[in-house]
Symmetry: C2
Subunit: 318 residues, 2 copies
């Protein structure tokens, strides 16, 4: 790197940390494209990570997620907080328009320097989205914004993975579960830190809340009791309570230094990447030790958990 | 095991292989509950596995999947084939009724000894369903049925995993993608061997087929070109073509001995089980080598693929 190029990068890094939107936008593009500049900046921002509250919203289409996020951002602005919105659309090479529609709804906040909005699309490589999102979060975090909101379009596997990099995960649904239950059972209830029944002025809302609470009882107990909130995003009902609840969860996540462990989201994405790699490897392997284990499963000698355990023991494991 | 108990088991095994429904039902229950009897029988059926055509149907709710499966089973019966239907509902502890509704629709085939229907429910342990399904398939396969149909309720992550144990994977959707695309992008297009647009007498059907073909172009090329078929399950339109296409795909899967490699579905489930175990392990590990790699990702020295590769190399891999 020439001295001049390095000076420029140093300036970009300074401007990013100072919260300048143009530096933030430029750096995100560099991170998306994995340029050498991105490496320089990712290194430089390390001391500035771990302050932002990162909250991911997911849930089936039709639950009014975008309107709710819009209202949540308004509540944050009322409280004097600065915000980044990271909108992620795993389907975008095909559906394209979904996020664009959301951006139009987010128009309420254009011209407000306290709200920075950025979309990420998959460009045909689905698995890569949560990886890029994790690094973009670091950049947004370092820019000094108080809250980062991750918005995903639906409630599929990719959305769950992407939302998984957030510290606080909000799952939004509409009253009258019906088809929604299809989305909710697909692993998204398991990741929820906060459940929201939006449009809770509809008649079935109370019933839906009750159903969700019953479903939650099937989950393993943990330190955090997942609250089930009701909101009406269009009339702002329940928004202050939602913001408080998200704050409380974020506070519970933080250590004694009041920082979020920045390894946590990287660890999650790396674990997923490695798991996929190992799955691929196993599908193609003809290693004799593996074949022996497969034979033992086939004949009923081992069940899948025992077989997995046996393979784990044969690997030098971290 | 006493001699008497072993005699009884031997008889059950013989009756199972002879295709007796009561022996099939009893054995499936034993496999679900992982009893010692199940081990004995899983061992005994080994030489009798690999003959059945196994086809999994998945797709968003509302696509008319159950009606289509019902019609497909009728087509198979017209062709003189014997059938097992394995209905799997990952959400059943909560929604309960979904599969029951399907069973009522399957009533057309009750009293037909050539159709054996069995439901599997998750009993609260989601990850275990595809494992149980894989073993139940072996039992159904050994019972000499020509075709085994796996029916899942929705199109979430668990359904995709369960359908993944089938040799031939059929993804069903309705015309007018809209919300369906939410389900389709959640990894289910990736697994499809055959795509069906059901209710294809609706006006948007041709448009939907075209969209699906475009989406398929984004997939990696393989030996098998995924066909996009149109059906109207209620009027039986396109059913013979669907049955032929499934036969063709099954034929393409078979080796020189015309048998399906029975390791294939067990390998898939074992790979998933191991991948989940490794993901859990990584989330909780404080191994210094892992922390070093995490630091390198954090600082931008390594991207996620490079980091995953490095960890793979540090493991004694199969």
């Amino acid at each position: 790197m020439t001295g001049l190029a390095e000076d420029k990068l140093k300036l970009q890094l300074e401007q990013l940390i100072a919260g300048k939107p143009s530096a933030l936008a430029r750096t995100i593009t560099a991170v998306e494209n994995q340029t050498p500049e991105a490496r320089y900046i990712l290194k430089g921002i390390q001391p500035h990570i771990g302050n932002a509250l990162v909250v991911g919203f997911t849930g089936p289409p039709g639950a009014g997620k975008s309107t709710l996020i819009n209202a949540y951002v308004r509540e944050l602005r009322n409280r004097g907080k600065t915000v980044c919105v990271l909108a992620v659309d795993p389907s975008s090479p095909i559906s394209g328009g979904a996020i664009l529609g959301d951006r139009i709804r987010m128009a309420e906040h254009t011209g407000d320097a306290g709200v920075f909005v950025r979309s990420l699309a998959s460009r045909g490589h689905l698995g890569g989205l949560s990886r890029t999102a994790a690094r973009v979060l670091d950049v947004m975090d370092a820019s000094g914004r108080d809250v980062i909101v991750i918005e995903t379009v639906g409630a599929g596997q990719s959305e769950v993975e992407i939302a998984g990099v957030a510290g606080t995960k909000v799952v939004v649904c509409a009253p009258g579960l019906g088809d929604d239950i299809q989305a909710i059972k697909a692993g998204i209830l398991e990741i929820a830190d906060v459940l929201v029944v939006n449009k809770s002025d509809m008649p079935q809302a109370e019933n839906t809340k009750r159903q969700l609470r019953t479903m939650l009882h099937l989950r393993q107990a943990s330190d955090w009791n997942v609250p089930v909130l009701g909101t009406v995003a269009t009339t702002f009902e329940g928004l202050p309570e939602l913001a408080d609840t998200i704050d409380n969860h974020d506070e519970a996540l933080r250590g004694a230094d009041h920082k979020i462990d920045p390894h946590q989201r990287i660890r999650r994405v790396l674990a997923e990447t490695l798991a996929h790699a190992i799955e691929d490897k196993l599908m193609g392997s003809s290693d004799p030790a593996l074949i022996e284990v497969l034979n033992d499963v086939q004949s009923g000698e081992l069940n899948f958990d025992e077989a997995s355990q046996k393979l784990l023991e044969q690997m030098k494991l971290l």
